[in-house]
């Protein structure tokens, strides 16, 4: 359904050119839940914005292809893109408090995508708004509320409702449960999975929370320094990670269910994307690095649908030292 090949995105600023996304490739199938995880500055949000062409002015896609059902999203006109945006691909953002226009009532916020992207007349919108509120389990009485009158979880549900109201085939969720209490997060994740089953859409779930990604997603891409370092199905990532960074992330997750374990952390910080290193992006923080790592690792195929950007990916995994 979505095929991204060799996508690169840069930000141009007074300090230079920041290579936010560097030759990223991924593919999302129909009805799949695809996860993109990575820490601050890895490029995942830039990647999401580039799919829908909602990057800020300072950003530029310098190479690559984004194919959605065969259509090259990079080459269509803005008018064409507007038809795709929201109707076929929509996005749910983090921090609904800041994303919802505070001067509009919920019903008017929800009507807007229908007006703009579907050209729907007013009478019909009322019915659709009522329908979608039901779907996300918000009481109809909330239609006339303003965002500030709602709780964080309800606001997030409104964002989900907005993203679903035009019945898209692909929903991009960018850190959409970050900042919510864990119980509310759990409810929302369960609800969106129910909706996904009911309505049939694919999802790209972007979050830095590895536990959420591994639970909710079929396949996962791990990003670091603008690159995808490893792609695999969730089970494999959990049981047989083929990149030291993935291993490090798994080792840094504290648990409440297993025996208490010693956590490991990474020293140093993510690479400077203004001047990224020439070899492996992760080398300076990798406990398994060797001289070979000074050359950029190729994207090796480790299994069916499994890739890793590490010279040692084909060895028997990265056991804790």
């Amino acid at each position: 359904m979505l095929d991204i090949a060799d996508l690169s995105v840069v930000y141009r600023g007074y300090r230079g050119v920041l290579k936010a996304v560097d030759k990223v490739s991924l593919a999302v199938e129909d009805n799949e839940v695809f996860g993109i995880t990575g820490e601050s500055g890895c490029g995942k949000s830039t990647l999401a914005a580039s799919i829908l062409r909602v990057l800020p002015q300072s950003a530029e896609v310098t190479s690559g292809r984004i194919l959605f059902r065969g259509i090259d999203l990079r080459s269509v006109s803005e008018a064409e893109m507007r038809k795709i945006r929201w109707k076929q691909i929509s996005i749910v953002f983090q921090n609904a408090m800041n994303a919802l226009d505070p001067v509009y009532k919920i019903k008017d916020l929800l009507k807007e995508p229908l007006r703009v992207h579907e050209g729907m007349p007013d009478e019909e919108t009322k019915r659709r708004v009522g329908e979608v509120l039901n779907l996300v389990r918000i009481s109809q009485s909330r239609m006339d509320s303003y965002p500030h009158e709602l709780s964080g979880g309800t606001r997030q549900r409104v964002m989900i409702a907005m993203a679903l109201i035009c019945r898209p085939q692909l929903v991009i969720a960018d850190e959409f449960t970050t900042g919510l209490d864990v119980i509310v997060q759990d409810q929302i994740l369960a609800d969106i999975e129910d909706l996904r089953q009911k309505l049939g859409f694919a999802m790209i779930l972007i979050t830095h929370d590895l536990s959420v990604i591994l639970e909710a997603c079929d396949r996962v891409a791990v990003m670091y320094g603008g690159r995808i370092l490893e792609t695999a199905d969730s089970k494999s990532i959990l049981q047989d990670p083929r990149h030291p960074y993935t291993r490090a992330l798994l080792d840094s997750m504290p648990t409440i269910r297993d025996a208490k374990k010693k956590l490991r952390s990474l020293s140093g910080s993510p690479p400077d994307m203004l001047n990224p290193p020439t070899g492996c992006r992760f080398m300076s923080r990798c406990t398994f690095a060797t001289q070979l790592c000074q050359t950029d690792p190729p994207n090796l195929q480790v299994g069916v649908g499994r890739y890793s950007r590490c010279h040692y990916a084909l060895d028997q995994g990265f056991k804790r030292r």
Binding site: I183, D186, H208, V212, L238, P254, T255
Partner: protein
């Protein structure tokens, strides 16, 4: 033996149109933290945990109740005595991007408390204290002393905040979500540093978090807060092994974990408005195990075992 006693209640007032409404931010909270203890306060947003911490730190005045540090009511202290107390009790905040003055380099950030409290009479002495503080958070002084906050990563900034807190040689550290804004791979380093510092310097910690897993990693004893009240307290490992209050149980089951097949949190809806708390138990409207009595009578903390207390009618 010294003990820290905190006995307090608190309300925070808000004005809404012409009527005064009250947010019961903290409502009848009693805490006891022993010398050298590593104590956790667990709660989600709106639980009152930060307000509680601020009252203990001497920053937010309780509406009712008292805070005793070594038997002394800190809210009765004269301003000079209060200032001396501030050397002993330090706070580390959640947002490392907000807690550092962007105009000060690391040296001046760390020097500030020394100047305020008149510690280190000469520049050399102060530089020595600053260097030692940086070393204790694993930051080489020569490398970091001249840096400004924008040149530091989130984890490094948080280390600077910890170093700053250590300059006054405190006894008690209040940490409010110190790692929740940091990347996962960096968190463990800060947590381990905090654990090590506590042992080495003999510190007492009040560690606040909404993350049960971090709580488990960091603390020996903990209390769970919900809507301004403590619902469960005890040894951390005991609560993890056997969460008794339905809210704690819901928190537990809501934590995502790809390694197990878990039951989703069996809780209905969301927390009520803090200005409009229900009668009876704060949690009853959402509780999957509620009974008739829960609607009208607020449960009190009750000892389920010698070390485990819970405020729930199910256990009386």
């Amino acid at each position: 033996m010294s003990k820290l006693f905190a006995v307090r209640k608190g309300l925070i007032e808000i004005i809404s149109s012409r009527q005064t409404r009250y947010i019961h931010a903290v409502n009848g909270v009693d805490l006891q933290i022993g010398l050298g203890e590593n104590f956790g306060l667990m709660g989600e947003s709106g639980s009152g945990k930060t307000t509680t911490a601020l009252m203990i730190a001497g920053v937010e005045r309780p509406t009712e109740g008292r805070v005793f540090l070594d038997g002394v009511d800190i809210w009765r202290l004269k301003s000079s005595e209060l200032k001396a107390m501030r050397k002993r009790v330090q706070m580390i905040w959640q947002d490392p991007y907000d807690s550092l003055d962007p105009r000060l380099d690391v040296y001046h950030t760390l020097e500030e408390p020394l100047i305020i409290h008149g510690i280190g009479e000469t520049k050399e002495k102060r530089l020595d204290i600053v260097s030692k503080a940086l070393q204790s958070v694993d930051m080489a002084p020569s490398e970091y002393i001249g840096r400004r906050p924008f040149e530091l990563s989130g984890g490094q900034r948080q280390r600077v905040c910890i170093a700053r807190a250590l300059t006054t040689k405190p006894e008690f550290l209040i940490l409010d979500e110190p790692v929740s804004m940091l990347d996962m791979s960096v968190r463990a380093g800060i947590l381990d540093l905090l654990l090590e510092l506590r042992k080495r310097e003999g510190l007492t910690y009040l560690f606040i978090s909404h993350d049960l897993a971090v709580m488990r990693y960091m603390t020996d004893r903990m209390s769970v807060m919900y809507l301004g009240m403590i619902v469960e307290s005890g040894a951390t490992e005991g609560i993890i092994e056997n969460p008794m209050h339905p809210y704690t149980q819901a928190l537990f089951s809501a934590v995502p974990d790809p390694r197990v097949k878990r039951q989703r949190a069996p809780v209905i809806g969301e927390s009520p408005d803090l200005t409009d708390l229900p009668k009876g138990c704060n949690f009853h409207a959402r509780c999957p195990r509620r009974m008739e009595i829960c609607r009208t009578v607020g449960p009190r903390l009750f000892s389920a075992t010698k070390t485990h207390v819970v405020a729930c009618h199910l256990y009386h």
